[in-house]
């Protein structure tokens, strides 16, 4: 998706840390997901923690930021003096570090959102910031300058969740996975909800989002699926008629280490199918003769998944 010229007479190039006094009360809790694989250089992380430093300095608007760091990342990287210094002088200085053993990124989200929620209050907003993006390059800086809009939209416009939309070219692996895998499977298992989700976003697995306290409480109280949490969150938002917003945060690509291989793309499609099946059963498992409909959908789902994997193999293999 190519993003539009900005209609403003003056484009936004700077972060506006200070919000108008007229805004609704409620603090913003930034939650930074530290990259699972420590990058060789610190350009992207320095840019990200430049933002975190500013957030930490504005205690009127923001709660103390939280960084979630997997212990495997820590032990792997701690042989490096540069990493130890960065953690001590930057990460720990500008945020509270949650050290945890996580099986995947979704567990890192859970480990960060949970403690932040426990510190929060009823009008607060929780803002997830993925660490493994190329914030150090000019286009990444533009994204950093826009991310603050996500929690602000929730506070100012009384929304429940705001998804950050990232533009990529049509051959980007994430785009391909979402087009041929995520949405195809969503249309099979939850056709009505899928249509509504697509009215907002082409990226239902976006890692950029902010969520209101009340909705986060509902999400945390439900079963926490081990993957594709943004899809789960959007479905739950549509099920319960939450107020969803989408905001364009820019053009960005993963750092090279995070780009999808075919194997990784296949795994993501399979995970999405697993989660959607589980959610469908959770929602319909008490209905009479639900297994008959489930078998039909499961057969269709298998065909959808196989087609997606064939397409991805042709395009990424």
């Amino acid at each position: 998706m190519n993003k539009p010229e900005v209609t403003q007479s003056k484009t936004r190039t700077k972060r506006d840390k200070t919000l108008p006094t007229s805004r609704k009360t409620g603090k913003i809790h930034p939650i930074i997901i530290y990259p699972f694989v420590q990058p060789d250089d610190f350009d992207d992380l320095n840019a990200l923690y430049g933002l975190v430093e500013h957030l930490d300095a504005d205690r009127q608007t923001y709660a103390r930021p939280v960084t979630v760091m997997d212990r495997k990342t820590y032990y792997e990287a701690s042989r490096s003096r540069a990493f130890r210094e960065f953690r001590a002088k930057t990460v720990e200085r500008f945020s509270d570090v949650v050290d945890c053993w996580c099986v995947d990124t979704c567990q890192m989200w859970y480990s960060g959102l949970g403690p932040a929620f426990e510190r929060g209050a009823s009008n607060d907003v929780y803002w997830l910031i993925p660490g493994d993006f190329n914030y150090g390059v000019p286009v990444g800086q533009e994204v950093l300058n826009r991310l603050h809009d996500l929690p602000e939209i929730i506070l100012e416009l009384g929304q429940d969740v705001c998804i950050g939309e990232i533009a990529t070219d049509h051959t980007n692996s994430k785009q391909l996975i979402d087009t041929y895998g995520t949405f195809a499977l969503l249309y099979n298992w939850f056709p009505v909800e899928a249509q509504e989700i697509r009215e907002y976003t082409e990226r239902p697995r976006s890692e950029f989002f902010a969520v209101h306290h009340t909705f986060l409480r509902e999400l945390l109280a439900r079963k926490w699926y081990p993957c594709e949490q943004t899809v789960v969150m959007l479905l739950r938002a549509v099920f319960s008629r939450k107020r969803i917003s989408q905001f364009f945060v820019g053009h960005i690509s993963d750092v090279p280490g995070g780009r999808e291989s075919l194997s990784s793309a296949m795994q993501q499609v399979e995970r999405t199918e697993t989660v959607l099946k589980a959610m469908w059963r959770e929602r319909n498992g008490t209905k009479k003769n639900w297994t008959d409909q489930y078998r039909v959908l499961e057969n269709q789902s298998e065909r959808v998944r196989r087609s997606a994997l064939t397409i991805l193999a042709n395009l990424l293999g």
């Binding site: 010229e5 209609t7 700077k14 108008p20």
Partner: protein, 94 residues
């Protein structure tokens, strides 16, 4: 990094709607209480419709009324819902 300047609380925003065949286009949003008569747009020589509006710092919901039909701005930076539940566009003002 600069903060918002509260001495200049309004900022001029250009809204452009590409509807060359339309007979009338107006801008509606939170800032004019969705009043169709409040902000008529002007057709430009290239047949697009233009209106400059001064808006306060923050995020504003809006849409175009193209011959009476509520229409999203394809160049908007975001999408949300109005209080009536209609899908509308979002513009950030800093």
């Amino acid at each position: 990094m600069s903060s918002f300047d509260y001495r200049k609380p309004l900022r001029a925003i250009n809204f452009i709607c590409n509807a060359p065949q339309a007979k009338a286009v107006s801008l509606v949003g939170d800032f004019n209480h969705w009043n169709p008569a409040s902000h008529p747009m002007k057709q430009m020589p290239d047949h697009s419709w233009l209106l400059t509006v001064e808006l306060k710092h923050g995020h504003h919901r809006y849409a175009f009324l193209v011959d009476g039909v509520l229409t999203l701005d394809p160049r908007a930076q975001g999408i949300t819902r109005s209080d009536k539940g209609e899908r509308v566009s979002l513009v950030p003002v800093s």
